[in-house]
Homo-oligomer: 108 residues x 2
DNA sequence: CTTGATGAGTAGATTGGCTACATGTTGCCT
DNA sequence: AGGCAACATGTAGCCAATCTACTCATCAAG
């Protein structure tokens, strides 16, 4: 999968995996990998800056903890993040309709 | 629709509209607008550079003509472009599965 | 005692879509 | 006649998100 196909779609995906349970960065990576059937293997240089960006924007809140001698930063969805996720899902539906309207995937 | 959601998806869309008939730039813009139900209103600063890029890459070929006193550059799909379009369609299917696998659009 | 998995992070390059601009024609409306 | 909308093509430069490539640290297995 091409790199910049992800552009603008990563944020709602990240928010989605922490929708029902707070997770730390590494666990978010794994969740994305698992939910995508192994397709979405984010480099840390993509994920961690994205998480900080989402926190700065107020969509995520984080707190540190230590588990088994390892420091974790656990992120949870804020209410603003929940709204952003909902609108992100709606935008995805629109986007999909646009692309498929143009691509006409009926004929391969 | 967010601007950079388009990143990496525009190329196959452009190739798709010239798949069955060659079109000039302005007509491609209109075709995209129509096929997307009015959602995809590309600025010329996006479309024309994209067309040149696709031609440089060998996916499109162009020739000039004059219709009603106006100069047109008409683009048609090359065989390399057809292959690229086919693989672009396939990549879209994968991409859609990835996003929806992560977003789980069942629950809004 | 080295390797792989866990865990978090930064610096810098790339790149493609965007805004804003430049240029010209045709045809309709007032 | 004058002006504006639609038609038609293009460039320069900005911006931001993702990537590569790196650093640093702990723990378990071999």
């Amino acid at each position: 999968m091409k790199a910049d196909a992800l552009r603008g779609h990563l944020d709602p995906m990240i928010l989605a995996v922490v929708e029902h349970e707070p997770l730390h960065g590494y666990a978010i990576m794994e969740a994305l990998l698992e939910r995508s059937g192994g397709e979405l293997d984010l480099p840390t240089g993509t994920l961690y800056p994205a998480l900080r960006r989402l926190e700065r924007a107020g969509y995520l809140a984080s707190e540190w903890s230590t588990v088994g001698g390892r420091k974790r930063r656990t992120y949870q969805l804020t209410s603003a993040g929940a709204k952003m996720l909902a609108s992100g899902k709606q935008e995805w539906v629109t986007f999909r309709a646009v692309v498929e309207g143009v691509l006409r995937p009926g004929q391969p």
